[in-house]
Subunit: 145 residues, 2 copies
């Protein structure tokens, strides 16, 4: 894991959950699929849980499940739930704003990036977890131990 691949991890986890709709998958099991740590899985799926995209249950035979059918979960929702921007923030520090040029550059770029993000969101709204899962068909989906 290197870059900010949180969104990628989240999508990956969701597709794994989709692949086994009736099972609860534990953070540990998912972590071994995602080649990361159970705590990292909990952190990421925790955000998705707050957005009601997945549900967690504790105790023996507990774990994670999709809270809704994969057809009803768009990548846009996942993206929003992560509270992450796919667009780099170009804003300067608050302290720099004494300069009028900084303010106008920031303002213009903020507008442009807001537009771009809206377009991107629109595009992501067309993509569903089930689409990602379908994309994997033909390729083998590794079963969990």
């Amino acid at each position: 894991m290197k870059k900010s691949s949180r969104l990628s991890l989240a999508l990956h986890a969701l597709v794994h959950l989709e692949a086994q709709p009736d099972k609860h998958l534990t953070s540990t099991a998912l972590a071994s699929c995602l080649l990361t740590n159970p705590v990292v899985v909990r952190r990421i799926l925790g955000e998705l849980r707050e957005a009601r995209l997945v549900a967690a249950s504790k105790g023996p035979s507990g774990g994670w499940m999709l809270a809704r059918p994969a057809e009803d979960i768009t990548v846009r929702e996942v993206y929003a739930a992560m509270g992450e921007s796919l667009l780099v923030r170009t804003q300067s520090e608050p302290g720099d704003h004494g300069c009028a040029i900084v303010r106008s550059v920031d303002a213009v770029m903020k507008d442009v990036l807001a537009d771009a993000e809206a377009l991107l969101a629109e595009r992501l709204a067309q993509l569903r977890i089930s689409d990602l899962a379908r994309q994997t068909h033909g390729a083998r989906i590794p079963q969990l131990g």
Copy 2:
């Protein structure tokens, strides 16, 4: 300075250069405008110099100038010159690609982000340094010492 605000710094510097078309501005003078370090200015403007957007001259009365009129420099060119992506890379590590799900998620997201980036670039091509400068009119442009 905190975030990856290199593009913001570059645009800010270019607008300062536009504001004083006949003067050479030194890295030190620009650094005090941008509230950063002369070396950082040289690093950033150095990339713009390679893209022929600005020119540098050494020695006394040397410094930086726009290589072309501000009307002929688009933000897209600046963006390209910085070799920076405004879009976050969602790709996983090469090692993770043993899993078919990772590969398909990455592939789909790569396509979506490439489309989004193309749209963004198109939009940035409409924006010129002179537009950013005009945006600052009415607000005072601080003169350099």
